[in-house]
Subunit: 202 residues, 4 copies
Amino acid sequence: MAKQEASLPTKAEKSRNLILHSAAKLFREQGFSATTLRQIAAAARIEAGSIYYYFDSKEAILDEILDRGLRHVFESVKAAVKGAGQATYRRRIELAIEAHLVALLESSDFTSANIRIYGQLQEHLKKPHRPLRRAYARYWDKLFLDARKAGEIRADIEIEPLRIFVIGALNWTVEWFRLDSKDDVLKLARRTQLMVFDGIKK
Amino acid sequence: MAKQEASLPTKAEKSRNLILHSAAKLFREQGFSATTLRQIAAAARIEAGSIYYYFDSKEAILDEILDRGLRHVFESVKAAVKGAGQATYRRRIELAIEAHLVALLESSDFTSANIRIYGQLQEHLKKPHRPLRRAYARYWDKLFLDARKAGEIRADIEIEPLRIFVIGALNWTVEWFRLDSKDDVLKLARRTQLMVFDGIKK
Amino acid sequence: MAKQEASLPTKAEKSRNLILHSAAKLFREQGFSATTLRQIAAAARIEAGSIYYYFDSKEAILDEILDRGLRHVFESVKAAVKGAGQATYRRRIELAIEAHLVALLESSDFTSANIRIYGQLQEHLKKPHRPLRRAYARYWDKLFLDARKAGEIRADIEIEPLRIFVIGALNWTVEWFRLDSKDDVLKLARRTQLMVFDGIKK
Amino acid sequence: MAKQEASLPTKAEKSRNLILHSAAKLFREQGFSATTLRQIAAAARIEAGSIYYYFDSKEAILDEILDRGLRHVFESVKAAVKGAGQATYRRRIELAIEAHLVALLESSDFTSANIRIYGQLQEHLKKPHRPLRRAYARYWDKLFLDARKAGEIRADIEIEPLRIFVIGALNWTVEWFRLDSKDDVLKLARRTQLMVFDGIKK
DNA sequence: AATGAATGAGCGTTCATTCAT
DNA sequence: TATGAATGAACGCTCATTCAT
């Protein structure tokens, strides 16, 4: 069976992952250019030179983090929506919101690092990740579009600004949210779903 | 007349301001630590060493930018709300949203730089600006609190998460918005006001 | 045997020492602030950046040089006096003079750098070395005091000015003396002992 | 009369002198290269740029300080010796010692700056002052030589090391002496004369 | 007679990167 | 698999110097 083919992580794989996680955490906290390879190495309890055994450059680490981060939210959201089956579109979008927030605030730092630092990177660092970013945006757009067709969301605002509004509100949480328990994130998700759909008015 | 008494900016004041504006733009685009003094100097068409005639350090430039940026939104928002007189609270908050967005996306880069880079700065760089940040947050909280007391906004979500949701949605625009005309910002503001108050549902 | 247990200096130790010796020579010749790290690096045949693999800062290099320099004279003088056993005090002081001069003018540049540059350093650079300097001064004072108690040196001049006179005459040699052979230093020592004890009068 | 021909110092002359005195003090305390023109300017209560109205360069200031400093001791010593008339050579040398010490420790900082920093200057800065330095050395040598011919000082030590010993002991005082009153310098001079001639032995 | 504004070379230092071991 | 030693380009910053006013 498939399961049996996934071998246990070797020591090398563990080191590689440790470097990635350490780097993601530091990138998220300090940004890409303020983080030094020596800080990453220290966090991963190796020497700076050793990083080059696993990665070609600092940018290669970034690349992998950005990729994993985005892939992770994307897959979480897709899985959540898929799990909703034929629920209402509102329900599906609510689940997408929850999944996006959970990916952003729980799991590893890959996603939050991505959200936080992407905007300030140099062109050539962003470029390879644009296709996936666009695909993720289009995925949400489709969700909203279907909901609108079904008459579940307002038609007087175009899809794009609508999506930006929603995702923006979600992403900004990364600037202030400090993880305490799973409940917190779910509670946050619940409140956010409410505000997104019904607004703040009474 | 009063106007005539405001002296013209001296050459030195112009240079100082040019440095600040150049720096704010670069900080906003690239972040603080990725921006070099030589880049700032080039943008201000002077030599890197000359910056030190006006500022003690790179951090001193940052300090002034952060301060001016936040002060600018804060004053804009206060003025807008004050100008609303005894309007409904919804109207007052709508004006605050518009003022915040205009300050963020138009005028100089001071505000947008502030919003964008603050989160990743080292503790000692954030510290001096915390009091003003808190005051701004409390200002919004008061707005929301009054609106709730007047029965204009929902009571099932606490004020703080509510404020974070709204300001988050506003601030995130800085990540993608590219200025074209004043109309754009005002249009954006109008849509945002709608979604914030009434939500995205039909 | 013990000798065999002293491990050979590693490559790193050699580099470190080479940097220290190069720096000491340059500090002695040009002073601390006139000496650049690039000069030190060139003298040690490495790149300027490499110095930071071994030292935290230019001041850290200075610290170690000052410390080694003073420690070296102090130990030389103590050893010389100890070696004199129960000789007369005049003899002991004569040996101390010789040891001080030899340490200053032969061996490495650590001692001479110390003597030459200490006076012009900023307070915070002098501070850590003051205790040892005081201890060295007190060591000489004791020597003179004992000699006076034994009736071997004049009692009409206080100990401190007396010590300053003697050490001053010794230290000043560093301003003009150029090493040729061991004989020179010993000859110089002999003459100095004579002048110190008997004066220049016939 | 001659007196009337010496006009009062103009404002410019005063400024020039103030710069020189400020610089000499700082050079003496910190060394030449550690002293900045801005420090000198601040001490003279002018702007750094203004120094160039009076001097061509930092080196030009140094040059004048070195020259004035040495000239000052030299003339003081000559005057003192001349004033002794046909006294014994011991007396003449004693007066020279006193004059040298007074010039070094009282009056301005020109002489002490000279003594303290000369040794660490670059070749091209020392060069112009070498002739006068040599002349001063020869003046002392003549004093000692005459004294020896008259049988007043020992013949078993050559003149040069003897002069270096004496001048060294005098010059070193600049490293530790802090001026309080004229008495102090004269008291110091008297003790030094004693030690130089009769030595420290009982 | 003096300054305010600016320069540019060079400083101490950092850091991603290399490579022999 | 990992490191210790070293590099070199570039960083933030300083400073003697210039020059129009």
